[in-house]
């Protein structure tokens, strides 16, 4: 005999999980937009903003494939979404450790400011101002 309540429960659970994965996707797109915008402003692939935006982009890709929401991705082998998730986690870890290693080596900040180039231009302007005053 089929337990109707169990089926209903399973359907509602899967519906809930689908809606939550949609919410997760929307939530993860916002930081991606923020960091991509900051990365474009910093104009450097070495910047923290660029690296974290790559991590989020790969994470989102894994999430989309894992949830099978796009028909093209359904042809991919199973667990590829989870593998991409692992890939993004490894990328994030390598990024953290490399940044730490180079920060220690060069005595720099681990997260650089978006306005590093801006600092230089300000200093240049200040020095020109001073020389003009003199």
């Amino acid at each position: 005999m089929i337990n109707i309540f169990e089926i209903n429960n399973t359907i509602s659970t899967s519906y809930f999980l689908h809606s939550m994965s949609d919410i997760t996707l929307i939530l993860s797109f916002i930081p991606l937009i923020i960091f991509v915008w900051l990365a474009l402003r910093s104009k450097s692939i070495k910047a923290f903003q660029f690296q974290i935006s790559i991590f989020i982009a790969v994470y989102i890709l894994g999430e989309i494939i894992e949830n099978n929401r796009i028909a093209i991705f359904s042809t991919l082998p199973p667990n590829i979404g989870s593998q991409i998730h692992v890939g993004s986690a490894i990328f994030f870890t390598i990024m953290m450790w490399f940044r730490f290693y180079y920060a220690e080596k060069r005595g720099k900040k681990m997260i650089e400011s978006d306005i590093d180039g801006y600092d230089d231009s300000i200093n240049d302007n200040k020095s020109t101002k001073d020389s003009n005053n003199n």
Partner: protein, 106 residues
């Protein structure tokens, strides 16, 4: 054991290795001089640690098969932490830029 559970274990371990760095910075910054910049950076790092630890918890819970709790609650929560990190980072960038503009004007 299912392959997805293996991936969850690997994910949890990898994120645990990643959390060492920001956690070390938080511990290190506790003893340093508290100015406005370092306090803000510390807050940012705490949020980043929160995101990573939520990811660890999500993968650990997922390994034990509590899909509803993991996918339905912990994963969105970790994304909220990442969103908060992004917003805080954006605010700190604007603040720093504004401050430098003021310094330049004076």
């Amino acid at each position: 054991m299912l392959p997805s559970q293996y991936y969850n274990i690997i994910d949890a371990i990898v994120y645990l290795i990643a959390v060492i760095i920001p956690a070390y910075f938080i511990l290190k910054s506790r003893n340093s001089i508290n100015n406005n910049d370092s306090t803000h950076l510390r807050k940012l790092t705490i949020i980043l640690v929160g995101f990573i630890l939520l990811q660890v918890l999500y993968h650990v819970i997922g390994t034990f098969g509590f899909r509803l709790l993991a996918k339905g609650f912990l994963e969105p929560l970790s994304m909220v932490a990442l969103l908060l990190f992004g917003v805080m980072y954006l605010i700190s960038t604007f603040k720093a830029k504004k401050q430098q503009q003021q310094e330049f004007n004076t």
